[in-house]
Each structure stands twice: as C-alpha cells, then as structure tokens.
C-alpha cells in the first residue's frame, strides 16, 4: 500500500513537473540560475571524473556528438538526439558508425570545431594519443572501437571490431563531451573550453563555480539563462535551509533524501520536487578469493538472508526499488520483470522460507546456532554506506553470521578493496548509462578496472558479447535478463536495492527534467529559463 502511495505521489509530482513545462509559456531570456553544489569536485575535467559532482556543473560547458533528449526523463535508444553530429548512420555490417557534423560550431575561445576534435577526444579516451588523461575511468566503454577516422572536416567514423549498437548510448552520456585538440588535458582540468551553451568563468575550490552564457552558441537563441552559479555548500542542513529561504533557485540534483523531502515541502510548500531513481545500486561486494566466502554455499546463504524490503522501508520510507544489476522497470529499460526476479533465490516474497534455506546452507558449511561465523563488513565512512551496512549486519544474524562494522575512510577504501583486504563490503555502484554494455563490462567483466571483486566467469562473459551485438531490442532484453539472473545466482555482487532521491526547484524555474534512469546525463540546461 505504501509503495502504491509512493508511486502515486511520484506520478503526481512528475505530472506536475510535466505540466509546468507544457504550460509555462514562452521562454524568457536572462537571469542567473543559482544552485548549491553538494561538494567541491576534484577538477573540471568530465572525462577524468566518475562522480556527478563534475557532470552537474560542467556538462553545460560542452556538447556531445549525440545526447539523450534533455526533456524526456527516461534515457532510452528512442530518446537519442543528434547534437554536434547532425546525423548518424550505421554501415551494412553494423561495424562502422558515421557521424555528419555541424558546421560553423566554435569553441569558446573562437577556434573552429572540426572532426579532428572528435578524433582527439576518442584517442584520449582510448589511450592512443600522445597526451594522456590523468585518469580514464571509462576506457572500457571503447573496447570495441578500432579507430576513429575523420573523413574531411565535418564527418567522422567509428570503426568497430564487432557490432555494438549501444555505443551510441555511451556517446550520449554526460560523461562523453567532445574536447578540443588545442587545449591540453591539464588545462581542461582548470579552465575547460567547450562548444556548449555556457562558458566557464571560474571554479574556486570549496567556494563556487560560475558559468556564463555563450553568446556565440551554435544553437541560435540558446541558452536562455545569462549564467549559472553554483555555491559549494557541503553542509546539507545549511544548503537546504538556504534553498527554503529562497537563496537558491534549485537544490543540487538528487541530493534530497526521502525524509528530508518532507521538511522541504513543509517549509517551502511552493517548491516543485521530483523523486526519481538515481541508478545507483547499494550492493555487497564479496571477497570470494579467501575463506569463508570462497565457499559458494556461504555466499548463497548470505544472499538468501537479505530482506530487501526492510532496507527500502527503513532507509527510504518505501521509496526505493528492488532489482538485479540493471535498474528495475518501469524507469529502468533493461531490468528484469518482477516475476523473473522473484525466481532468483533470496528475491522471493517469503523471506522466512528463504532464510530457512540459507540456514541449511550454513549448516552444510559447518555453521549453526552453536558455531557462528564472524565476519567484518567493511564500508566507507559515509552515511549512505554505513546505514545499510548496519542493517545488513542485523539481517546476517538470522543465519548464524555475526557481523562487525569496519568503517574505512574514502582514501583507503579502493586500495583496501584492490588488495582484497576485506571479507564483505557494503558498496554503492552508480551506472551512468542505463545500458547493459556499461554495467556488465564495467562491473563484471574479467579484469575490468571497476570490477572490484575480480569476479570472472568466462561463460557469462561470452553472453555479454552476445547481448552486446544484438540489434533487436526485444531479443536483447531477454538475453540481458538471463545474464542478470545468472549474476545474482553467482552472488557476483548481490544487489540490495536501487536508491531514489529528490530534487527541488522554485516554481519560476522552467524546463527542468530530472532523469529517471540516470543521474549523470541531464544537465545541459541550455533551455532552462526563469519565469520572473
């Protein structure tokens, strides 16, 4: 009943947001959009970042070849739109993707944009250029690209090793802006130059980020805003109070937790708020290279002991989603349908029966009421990590596992995980594109940099490639569901829940759409305007 109410509330809010866009009237030029920023990003280089703390403020500085429609909440193959590319076409064998580029586009420093810039960008991303990115977290996205070849100044082709229709999804991500050849990666960290609707003005660490309107933007009449100013406020209470007091036009996207949303609505009843999935899953990483979790029975027992609904009820007042690796429907495109999901051990509605099975598995492994298994549950020292870890420890008690919380500072988290110095880890995984190629290859393929557990199953890997080459979306979905089910049964990285979060803005802010299956791709803001 609670989730029905939550869904109804979300639908009503979404409808309100939609009607706001539809009934807003003619957009007005001018005004600075004032927003708070939740923290200070490391730098301004989107290609080197892996947090939406970079995407949100800097996505407006750039353009992609293609982009997800910024006013359709759900990213899908149907919502891909050309941006710097006028159009795209696939070769007959689906191994060559050619883009025709817009002419007359200029970088913010006045230099012309050409196909060479596209090549430079992807050479950087593929690690082929002389200049190197300091960090390249999404190199795996381009594993199937042989080369990027300019055909004259305004056409460019991606030659693939094999068909990969979802390459377009990666290109449409907020993480894939086109960089200029004539600016070094180091300079892009401190003073980014793009072709986008907003020009970079300044970034004062821990203080503010300022963008100004690009008067020479190649999309005539855009952007509507004169600029965007982000004030960095790390204290969430202060930030929200400032929004309530009208000091900001908008909160940082998906920064409002479900309990805090009530506070905002009570203190600022006119604020428009939307709650959407963030496509960030909370999951368990299991060190299966050493005892006791090298025993599949113990891994399976642990996965079967989970009461996912309890997590969702406690942490999100019922407003979060239960699913596998892929974000569950209706917001997720590729998530398993409920009936298939419930066939996976531990996902069934009868938690007690599942735990009874789990206890049998534990007894088979030599544990029971008189001999408990002591484990450390490691996690980062952040509330969104610690809180579910505490619930997990409580739930594991039901199958003779005594958990101890091991809180790890962020600086030490990844080194600790990389050297396999943990038993169980409570982890968050953000998926920047709702596409299996992004999630499977990045998180589960053998040797991938973000495959924290070094899970490696060559059979499943073959299936990754099969689904990746499938052109028919319907057939691909079936394949993806089968893979996702196998990943859960293998206890590769048990998914506990997919989080939801809120974003609020003042009623005079028009043209805001919060993405429903990605919190990384919706911040171009070129047609956002202020009705005041």
């Amino acid at each position: 009943m609670r989730s029905v109410r939550a869904l109804a509330a979300t639908a009503a809010l979404s409808l309100l947001a939609f009607s706001t866009i539809a009934l807003a009237g003619e957009p007005k030029q001018g005004g600075i959009l004032r927003m708070y920023h939740r923290d200070s990003p490391a730098n301004a280089s989107i290609l080197e970042g892996a947090t939406y703390s970079i995407n949100v403020p800097f996505m407006g500085v750039f353009n992609n070849l293609v982009i997800y429609d910024q006013h359709v909440a759900q990213n899908s193959p149907d919502t891909l739109r050309p941006e710097l590319a006028e159009s795209w076409s696939w070769s007959g064998d689906n191994k060559k993707l050619t883009f025709k580029l817009h002419q007359g586009v200029k970088w913010h420093d006045g230099k012309p944009f050409t196909s060479a810039d596209v090549k430079c960008t992807f050479d950087l991303l593929m690690g082929k250029s002389q200049q190197k990115l300091r960090q390249n977290p999404r190199k795996a996205w381009y594993n199937e690209v042989n080369d990027v070849t300019p055909n004259g100044d305004f056409e460019v082709s991606f030659d693939l090793k094999r068909p990969q229709p979802s390459l377009l999804a990666m290109l449409a991500s907020g993480y894939t802006p086109i960089y200029p050849c004539h600016v070094s990666p180091a300079d892009m960290r401190t003073h980014p130059v793009g072709t986008g609707p907003f020009k970079f003005v300044e970034f004062k660490a821990n203080e503010s980020i300022k963008l100004t309107r690009n008067p020479d933007y190649w999309k005539k009449g855009l952007p509507y805003l004169d600029g965007i100013e982000y004030t960095i406020i790390t204290n969430r209470s202060t930030a929200i109070l400032a929004f309530v007091a009208g000091k900001f036009d908008m909160t940082f996207p998906t920064h409002i937790t479900i309990p805090l949303l009530k506070d905002i609505k009570s203190q600022a009843p006119n604020a428009i708020c939307a709650v959407e999935p963030t496509n960030v899953s909370t999951n368990i990483i299991v060190n299966s290279t050493s005892a006791p979790f090298d025993n599949i029975d113990i891994r399976r027992a642990m996965a079967m002991a989970l009461d996912r609904k309890a997590f969702v009820d406690i942490l999100f007042e019922g407003q979060a989603d239960i699913g596998g690796t892929m974000l569950p429907p209706p917001q997720g495109i590729w998530g398993m349908p409920k009936d298939k999901l419930e066939t996976i051990p531990g996902y069934g509605p009868n938690v007690n029966a599942s735990r009874e099975e789990a206890r049998k598995l534990m007894q088979k492994a030599g544990y029971g009421p008189d001999k408990h298994l002591a484990v450390k549950v490691s996690t980062r020292n952040l509330a969104e990590y610690r809180d579910p870890a505490v619930i997990l420890i409580d739930q594991l008690k039901s199958i003779y596992i005594d958990g101890e919380l091991d809180v790890v500072e962020t600086a030490n988290w990844f080194p600790k995980v990389a050297r396999k110095d943990y038993m169980l880890g409570l982890n968050l995984t953000g998926n920047s594109v709702d596409d299996p190629d992004q999630s499977f290859y990045e998180n589960y393929s053998c040797g991938s940099e973000r495959n924290y557990t070094n899970y490696c199953n060559k059979e499943i890997e073959k299936l990754f490639d099969v689904q990746s080459q499938e052109i028919d979306v319907g057939k691909r979905k079936q394949l993806v569901w089968d893979i996702d089910k196998k990943l859960q049964e293998d206890v590769a990285r048990p998914i506990i829940f997919h989080a939801r979060a809120g974003t609020c803005w003042q009623p005079y802010v028009k043209g805001i759409t919060i993405m429903s299956n990605s919190s990384y791709n919706g911040f171009r803001y070129e047609d956002v305007w202020l009705d005041k």
Binding site: S40, P41, A42, N43, E48, G49, A50, T51, K132, R134, Q135, N136, P137, A186, R189, T190, F203, K204, A205, N206, E207, T231, I233, T234, N235, S237, T238, A239, L241, A242, V244, A245, G246, K247, Q267, E409, T410, A411, N412, W413, F414, P415, A418, G430, E449, R450
Partner: protein, 315 residues
C-alpha cells in the same frame, strides 16, 4: 628585556622548526594520499596510472627529499602548488586568511567584551539571582557546540523571518561587514565568552577577598573604583592568558562555524585540504597557524608586563 626578547625569538624559531617536522611527517603517517583519493573519486585504481601521478606530483620521492623541497621552498618564498586545484598554494590560501582573521578577531572581541564585564558583574553580585542567571548562561556557553548553535540560529532565522544570513565576500561598508560576520562570530565566540566569564568571575572573587580591596573600601573608594580600578586590574592576568589560549583553540570552532555558515575561510579550507591530502596546502596552512599561535603566546607574555608592572622580564 632585549636579551629576553632575542632568546624568545630564537626559541620561537626552534619551535617552528620542530612543528614543521611534526606537521610534515604526521601528514605522511595518515593513510592514503591525494592519488588514492583522486582514484577513489574516479571509482577505480590503476597501478600504472597511480604511479605516474605520484611521480608527477613528486610524492614518490623519499620523505626527507620531499621535506627538503618543502622547507627550502618556504625559505625561498615558494609555497608550491595545490595538488587539487593545480593553482599556486599561496593564491589559494591568501584570500581566505583575512576572512577567517576577521571572524576570529570579532569572535575574540565578542568573547572579551561580553565575557569580562559579565564575569565582573557575576563576581560582584555573588550569590544573587543575577549571578546564578549569568552562571547558567556561561555553563550553557560551554556546553553548546558552536555548530549546533549555528544551525539553531540559521533554522530560527529561516523559520521566523524567512531569511538566512549568507556570507557576503565583498562587504562595501563597515555595517555590511559587521552584518556578515556578527552572527557567525557570536556563534563561535559564545563558548569563549562563557569561558572568559567564568575565569573573570573566579579571578575577581579571589581578588575581592584580598586585604588591599578591604583597605580601599575602608578609605572610602567607590564601588566602581574598587571593582574596576583595584580588583579588575589585578584579576585580569589569568583572563588574558585564557583569551590567548582561546585564540589558538578558536580554529577548531571556526572550522565548524565556517562549514555551517558556509564561509569560505581558511579553517574550512584546511579541513577540505586534509580530506584531499593536499599536502602543500595543509603543510603551509598548519605552519601559518603555528606561527600565529606562537606569536599569540609571545604577545600574551608581553601583555603581562603591560598589565602588571611587577612583571619585568630579565635574562
């Protein structure tokens, strides 16, 4: 006196040298470095990229070499570059210092101007309702953390007036400057004021029981003359000491106050720099704070001589 001054200045230099060693090596003992944190933000670790970046930043060199680079740079006036923003450290630190200095100065002023008079009143009116009321105020000042008080002020101002004091980085007039700094300074200075009040009260009570105070009263001196001329002047030394020590402790309160009120000062910046293990920023800033504290102690010692003519420093 001159020899004493020279000796003190020499000792200060030795102290600062020792502090520089402690700062540098303690920072290296903390697990993780900037490269770990950058890769944590990127969500992966690549050993080869990590090694390259450590080399680029010079943190792969032996610690003693890194220390020498830092200290010799400092002596040449080269403060290095922030690892995070890649801007000169001085350019990052300098604009933030006046903000925190103003806030700290105003907080100390608040502490002294509220704490000393109320402490005197509390002592003079010992055992009265007023004394009890002031003691409750001072006790609450010591108990309430400044971040909580700050949030309370912010929440109340939004709830009652729909307004929120937002930091104005470029106040044009004294009034604007006061409006910008007064509330956070009061939040952070409340604890110091409470402490000052308690010390003033106990010190005054001690002095008020002295024979010379009785003598002064016997010869017909007015209450004001006795309390403020004879008693306070002699009771003030421990108060000055406390205010001096508080100046050093203030940095802790300023960190949370700057965070709650979102003031872009040097205290909050220091915490962020520590979080990122931004060594050049942390080292230079902590060194700067050490210099301030050492000089504050020195100044307090000199003030002793000014307020108490019996104290004369000799070698």
């Amino acid at each position: 006196m001159f020899a004493y001054l020279v000796r003190r200045l020499f000792l200060m230099l030795v102290t600062l040298f020792g502090i520089s060693i402690v700062i540098f090596f303690l920072l290296r003992v903390v697990p993780g470095n900037i490269v770990d944190i950058l890769f944590a933000a990127a969500g992966y670790v690549d050993p080869a990229d990590k090694a390259n970046l450590e080399k680029e930043l010079g943190i792969d060199e032996p610690l003693i070499v890194q220390y020498w680079h830092w200290i010799s740079g400092l002596l040449r006036g080269d403060f290095g570059y922030s690892y995070v923003s890649e801007k000169p450290a001085l350019q990052e630190i300098l604009p933030r210092i006046p903000i925190t200095a103003r806030l700290a100065g105003l907080a100390l002023l608040f502490s002294a101007s509220i704490g000393i008079p109320l402490g005197v009143i509390s002592a003079v009116k010992q055992g009265t309702r007023l004394d009890y009321a002031l003691r409750v105020v001072s006790l609450s000042g010591l108990s309430l953390p400044s971040f909580w008080l700050g949030l309370l002020i912010l929440t109340a101002s939004v709830a009652m007036f729909g307004q929120m004091p937002i930091f104005n980085p470029n106040p044009q007039t004294w009034l604007e400057a006061f409006a910008t700094y007064a509330v956070p300074a009061a939040a952070v200075g409340f604890r110091s004021a409470a402490l000052t009040m308690r010390i003033t009260r106990s010190s005054m009570l001690e002095v008020l029981r002295q024979d010379y105070i009785r003598t002064a009263r016997a010869k017909g001196a007015s209450d004001a003359a006795v309390n403020y001329h004879h008693a306070l002047k002699n009771a003030i030394l421990p108060v000055i000491t406390v205010i001096g020590i508080e100046a050093a402790f203030l940095i802790g309160g300023l960190i949370v106050t700057e965070t709650v009120f979102n003031i872009p000062g040097v205290a909050r910046f220091l915490v962020e720099a520590i979080r990122w293990r931004d060594y050049p920023i942390v080292q230079n800033l902590v060194m700067f704070i050490a210099v301030v504290v050492v000089f504050a102690n020195f100044t307090v010692d000199m003030l002793y001589a000014v307020f108490d003519p019996r104290i004369r420093y000799t070698d």
